[in-house]
Amino acid sequence: MKRIFAIVVVLGTSVLGSHMLNDSKKRFFKELLKQVPYLIPRYFV
């Protein structure tokens, strides 16, 4: 139950947050998020 609640809160915040951001901000964060999977590998270079 707690997990479902946490997921709902995270999803809700993300949806609400993305509606509050303008297109420029969305693109800014999208570019950052796109690179998140590479942060750990880059740390080892």
């Binding site: 901000k25 800014f28 570019e31 590479y38 590998p41 880059r42 740390y43 270079v45």
Partner: protein, 499 residues
């Protein structure tokens, strides 16, 4: 016993700085440079009596550069004849409005106030905030290593003030400018410096927005051209025994038991050394000159994931008249939204329109000796140029592009230009790759957004190969003359500590 204590690949400002500093530590240093001149992007070449700066066209953050010279027992001011530039820059907006930014902060505020009194007052709030960040960054960021999380903790522990400016890393350049300035013309006039971070205003990290302010700390031009800086580093290094070999292309870094032990040149010669330092693009270094077989799997993924920084075509012009320009740097700008649009609709789609914006550097205005009598030198740092052009190639388009850009610049920014051009050389991203061996013509080596900075940028002390160190734009703190010189100081400190 190795031939040298230290071999440096590349005689850019980073390579020369670390070479000279290590020679001062008493080490036997040899630098290999693949081209026939030193300096990398901070260099000067001569054609038909005109001297053109290859890339960098002024000196900012002279204090950082001076630190390197102080460590060498001298000063920047003693080694390089510097001409102060005032105004810092003049901006020509898309609609033709001119705004001057004198070195004096008060005078800049007055100039802004003529267009927007409210923004004129806001200039001081912006200046105060950015000066605070600049002080913190100079104290704790520029010359501190950022290899590990431990380094980052030490950086913030030494300079806790940096934490206050954390928001700058998670907001964009345009967020910061728009926060302080409301007038669209003023915003546009402060837009161009986003490209010093290599990204459009909506993607560029907010801390780059300190540049329009930091330039008010004083900007200078080196008499005889920007090669004055690397020349001075070379002179200092040579006095300490440092050697430099030009026209010597390093093809491979020699690796034995996960340790760099020297380099192999294109002519087959092998030179051994205890330490190898790279002043070339890190992605090229690891993937082509070392080989992924020498790297752990995570590092391989990391290296391949790096994106190259933007490229920018440079247009070198020798003219037989005094151009109607107001100072060393004129920024031809477009509104921030259009600059974002240029990134997505032109640059990202491999287009390069001739209606250009960019930096107009009138270098002979600061130093008349760069051109024959009554002649002048103008260098256009054009907008972002893609490495590949859609449906055609740079080599095919070059001649027609040159004619169209000269015509456009003449009509919009430099009246009379079209009738006075004596020498015109367009250096495309492809030319940059050919002459500087900079992959895809990337001027800052790798992108400079947050996921490519500090611990996420290739480490100054290699984590895969022992005895291998990195300097230059590829490593912390990134691209730009003062920053690559700072990278040389960081590497010299690390080598003193670990080797």
């Amino acid at each position: 016993m190795a031939d040298y204590d230290v071999v440096v690949i590349g005689a850019g400002c980073g390579g020369l700085t670390v070479g000279a500093l290590l020679a001062k530590q008493g080490r036997k240093v040899l630098i290999f440079e693949q081209s026939d001149r030193i300096g990398g992007c901070c260099s000067t070449f001569e054609t038909d009596g005109y001297k053109f700066d290859l890339g960098a066209s002024l000196i900012e953050d002279a204090g950082v550069i001076n630190w390197a010279f102080e460590r060498l027992g001298t000063t920047l001011w003693d080694e390089v004849k510097l001409t102060p530039c005032d105004p810092t820059y003049t901006v020509i907006l898309k609609d033709g409005t001119k705004i001057r930014y004198p070195i004096s902060s008060e005078k800049s505020a007055q100039e802004i106030g003529k267009i927007s009194p409210e923004d004129g007052k806001q200039w001081f709030a912006y200046a105060d905030y950015m000066q605070g960040f600049l002080d913190a960054a100079l104290e704790g960021f520029f010359t501190a290593p950022a290899n590990t999380l431990g380094d980052m903790v030490r950086m913030f522990a030494k300079t806790p003030k940096l934490l206050k400016y954390g928001a700058l890393f998670f907001s964009s350049y345009q967020d910061v400018i728009k926060k302080y300035f409301k007038n669209e013309k003023i915003r546009e006039s402060l837009s161009y410096q986003t490209l010093y971070g290599g990204l459009p205003p909506e993607l560029c990290p907010g801390y780059i927005a300190m540049i329009p302010w930091s330039e008010h700390d004083g900007i200078y031009y080196s008499k005889g051209g920007m090669i004055g800086i690397p020349d001075a580093l070379l002179r200092c290094g040579k006095k300490l025994g440092m050697e430099v070999r030009l026209n010597a292309l390093v093809e491979k870094v020699l690796i034995r038991n996960k340790r760099a032990v020297g380099v192999a040149l294109s002519d087959g010669t092998e030179i051994t050394s205890d330490i190898v330092i790279s002043d070339i693009n890190a992605k090229k270094l690891y993937l082509e000159m070392i080989g992924e077989e020498h790297m752990p799997w995570l590092a391989r993924i990391g290296v391949k994931s790096y994106e190259y920084s933007m490229a920018t075509p440079m247009f070198y012009l020798g003219v037989d008249y005094k151009p109607p320009l107001e100072g060393h740097h004129t920024l031809a700008t477009i509104p921030m939204d259009e600059m974002n649009g240029y990134w997505w609709n032109e640059y990202s789609k491999n287009h390069f329109p001739y209606e250009q914006f960019g930096i107009i550097s009138w270098t002979s205005g600061s130093d008349p000796s760069l051109a024959p009598k009554d002649h002048h030198v103008i260098i256009l740092t054009l907008a972002l140029g893609p490495y590949r052009l859609s449906g055609t190639s740079w080599d095919k388009e070059k001649t027609i592009l040159m004619e169209k850009i000269i015509d456009y610049m003449s009509k919009k920014y430099i009246p009379g230009l079209v009738d006075h051009v004596k020498v015109a050389i367009l250096s495309t991203p492809l030319d940059f790759e050919r002459s500087l061996l900079s992959p895809e013509g990337a001027i800052y080596a790798l992108r400079q957004d947050v996921p490519h900075t500090t611990v996420f940028r290739p480490a100054a002390k290699s984590k895969s190969i022992q005895g291998l160190y990195l300097v230059g734009a590829s490593t912390h703190p990134g691209g730009g003359v003062p920053t690559v010189i700072a990278s040389g100081m960081i590497a010299a400190d690390l080598i003193e500590k670990y080797e």
